[in-house]
């Protein structure tokens, strides 16, 4: 059972937000409990005006230097970044964190976001879906532009890298054209972990083919099982090993998460782990560390250490380009 915690650092206007030190303290507790990863998001999915002192990818970079083993996953929108910039940012974060980073690609359009980025009309659902799929393909392609052994560091011979092991992407698509390659070296985990969330059914096929982790939001344990089975079937159809895709079910915490509902989640088979979703306020984080964490510990679900060095190793995923 994989354990993830999802921390949304955005607060509705006027509500208190967590300071950097408070976030660090919380993430370190999760790390000590052997959580596989923490998801950071920095805006409200509803698009309501919010405040957060930090943007998720920059916060992640800082967190990477003060944590040692926990996986760090940031939400970053396909509307807010050009694919080249986003691929670069996460490749860089993965090197900074020594291979602990993932990108959470939200597959649902935030209703107010496009209008912040010079797209006042936004995108229709179908356009948004096609654009997101093309975008993700570009990012994956850019992450594979440098072969793992491309860097030679040959001072005497004067050859820093092997130009034959650096590959242009030369992507020309409906929404983007991107030449590549990235100007960041290959990720320590081959590719940062690719997470997809907020999926609609029309995106299941795509997600099952390319995601390393799928987070199912707003589902009951029973629905999570049946959806997870569907996704695994689709993954197998696209030729992937069963272990190549992890399906996490999201569970809201806070006073609403009773011992009974926790048990219901933990005893339903069919998904690979739970993502506990927290708004970033002090009472909720305290409730989680003081009440929920001991329950998990009592059930033997926490660990004293993580399984491996990289997030892919924690999750039992193969190397990103290896399938």
């Amino acid at each position: 059972m994989h354990l993830a915690i999802s921390l949304n650092i955005a607060a509705k206007n006027g509500q208190d937000v967590l300071s950097f030190d408070q976030i660090v303290a919380f993430v370190r507790k999760m790390e000590a409990a052997g959580f596989d990863m923490v998801f950071i998001s920095d805006s409200l999915a509803s698009g309501e005006p919010s405040t957060s002192p930090f943007e998720a990818t920059t916060l992640l970079a800082a967190l990477a230097t003060v944590t040692g083993s926990i996986g760090l996953v940031a939400g970053a929108s396909t509307l807010a970044h050009q694919p080249y910039n986003l691929a670069r940012r996460f490749a860089s974060l993965d090197i900074i964190s020594h291979g602990r980073v993932g990108w959470n690609a939200t597959m649902r359009q935030n209703p107010r976001e496009a209008a912040k980025f010079s797209q006042p009309e936004g995108f229709g659902d179908e356009d948004f879906r096609r654009r997101a799929e093309e975008y993700i393909g570009i990012v994956r392609g850019l992450w594979q532009g440098w072969e793992a052994d491309a860097l030679l560091f040959d001072k005497a011979g004067g050859r820093f890298h092997d130009p034959g092991r650096m590959h242009f992407l030369d992507h020309k698509g409906e929404f983007f054209s991107v030449r590549g390659p990235l100007n960041v070296a290959r990720s320590p985990q081959d590719m940062p972990v690719l997470v997809m969330s907020s999926l609609s059914e029309s995106q299941f096929d795509f997600a099952a083919s390319f995601a390393d982790v799928i987070v199912l939001d707003d589902v009951s344990p029973a629905d999570a099982k049946s959806t997870g089975d569907d996704l695994r079937r689709l993954a197998a159809t696209s030729g992937r090993r069963p272990s190549a895709l992890k399906v996490l079910a999201a569970s809201l915490t806070g006073p609403g998460l009773t011992t009974d509902s926790l048990d219901r989640w933990l005893t339903t088979p069919g998904f690979d782990g739970i993502n506990f979703t927290l708004p970033a306020d002090i009472p909720t984080t305290l409730d989680f560390t003081d009440r929920v964490l001991p329950e998990l510990r009592r059930r033997g679900l926490t660990r004293s250490a993580n399984a491996g060095a990289t997030l892919r190793e924690h999750l039992g995923l193969g190397m990103g380009g290896a399938e």
Binding site: A10, V17, F20, S43, P49, S50, T51, S52, P53, F54, E55, T57, T58, L59, L60, A61, A62, L63, A64, T65, V66, A80, H81, Q82, Y84, N85, R88, R89, A91, S92, L93, I95, I96, R112, A115, K116, F117, S118, P120, W146, L151, F153, K155, A156, G158, R159, F160, H161, D162, P163, M166, F176, S177, V178, R179, G180, P181, N183, V184, A185
Partner: protein, 416 residues
């Protein structure tokens, strides 16, 4: 502290600023994939009381020819905003300045990123605005060609205006030629309010944009005369925008090579120059001149007549003037240029280098310097242990930080 003191930035660049730095026996060759290397450099700079560290950037390869590129260390490195966010958590006082392009970002996203960096660092962030002159970058962003110089600057002006109003919480809603932004920024005001604005463009458009919006200007000048002319020109433009001369700090780049004796320093420099392959030197020069075929001309002959390009207009003029002035062949110019990329190279003892810096600082040609060590970490350590104590002895540089934020270090007003 009453006497005016110089501002010093440390210009970070993986293995070092010299094109062949990575081949130097003492250069750390894995710099571009090792965050601990950068943390150590930033901590060294902070212990030495530098005002800031600065990261240059391009969203693409630096060199179109893959064979040439593979003989330099510049094709890979950290993305600078994530790098500086990581450094923010590992330092306490030093300013953190990153380059970001107005051609390949959106104002809302960029304003958000730097506000976040300012919050993470407790008010130490700065943004170096560039318009991006490279067609290699353009090809990574769906563009079929580089925008003309004037168009890039029109976009940059609008970009800077929108970013400033987002940071300053001015009335929401912008609809302009290049951008539209409906909502106000969703990040609370950062400690500096407005992260420090840096620019390095030296064209007419670039200087005007800097006079209008910049707090710090990085420049490249070989001679005292060039440095002074640029300084006077830029400061003279401020009045048109209702600003005072001291509102902008002009910090030319300097690439020092320091040793206990002049001969020793010269030997260090010569050894480094020997590591530059001819084709790499010529390619670097070509790319600065924004032409692709300098390799066709005899390497021991003079620089040919060149048409004005859409790329770096001002840099081009600087390089051509250098070649004509010194009667240099392509090879000689390429080597000379490759060493410091058009910046001012000073080779000597700590006293000699301090003399040179002092002369430009006191002669009204600089408010400080952007220090470009030839290789890391060796030449940074040499500058910190030899030159900086000399500057401090002369009262030209601080012995400790006076403030908390980068604006305070630089003695900048908070903009209205």
């Amino acid at each position: 502290m009453s006497a005016r003191q110089m501002k010093l930035g440390l210009f970070l660049w993986a293995t070092g600023h010299h094109i062949a730095a990575w081949r130097h026996p003492d250069a750390y060759v894995r710099a571009g994939i090792d965050i601990d290397h950068y943390i150590k450099l930033a901590q060294t700079a902070e212990a030495a009381k530098f005002d800031m560290v600065f990261c240059e950037d391009a969203a693409g390869l630096r060199e179109a020819n893959v064979n040439i590129a593979s003989q330099t260390s510049r094709s890979i490195g950290f993305e600078p905003i994530s790098l500086l966010a990581a450094l923010a958590a590992q330092t306490e006082r030093i300013g953190l300045v990153s380059t970001a392009s107005t051609s390949y970002n959106e104002p809302y996203g960029l304003a958000r990123m730097f506000a976040s960096l300012d919050n993470l660092s407790g008010g130490r962030a700065g943004w170096n605005l560039v318009t991006s002159a490279s067609p290699i970058e353009a090809a990574n962003f769906g563009a079929t060609g580089l925008r003309p110089h004037a168009d890039r600057y029109a976009r940059a002006r609008e970009f800077a205006t929108v970013v400033a109003s987002l940071w300053n919480r001015h009335a929401a809603g912008h609809t302009g030629e290049s951008f539209s932004v409906r909502d106000p920024l969703d990040i609370p005001p950062s400690p500096q309010g407005t992260p420090v604005m840096v620019q390095a463009g030296a064209s007419e458009d670039g200087k005007d944009l800097a006079a209008r919006t910049a707090d710090v200007v990085f420049s490249a000048a070989q001679t005292f005369g060039e440095a002074k002319a640029f300084y006077d020109d830029l400061k003279g433009r401020l009045v048109a925008y209702g600003r005072q001369p001291d509102d902008v700090k002009i910090m030319p780049g300097v690439a020092p090579i320091v040793a206990a004796t002049k001969a020793e320093a010269q030997a260090k420099y010569d050894a480094l120059q020997e590591l530059i392959p001819d084709d790499v030197g010529v390619a670097l020069l070509s790319s600065y001149l924004s032409i692709s075929d300098l390799g066709r001309y005899p390497i021991d002959g003079p620089l040919p007549e060149l048409p004005e390009s859409e790329g770096m207009k001002s840099r081009q003029a600087l390089v051509i003037e250098q070649a004509r002035r010194d009667g240099l062949s392509i090879r000689e110019l390429a080597r000379y240029f490759a060493g410091a990329r058009g910046h001012w190279r000073v080779v000597g003892t700590a006293e000699e280098i301090a003399d040179e810096l002092q002369a430009r600082f006191e002669g009204g040609a600089a408010d400080g310097f952007n220090v470009m060590p030839s290789w890391f970490p060796g030449e940074l350590d040499a500058f910190v242990t030899l030159v900086m104590p000399e500057l401090q002895r002369r009262g030209l540089f601080r012995k400790d930080y006076e403030g908390r934020t980068l604006r305070e270090h630089l003695g900048l007003k908070r903009p209205i």
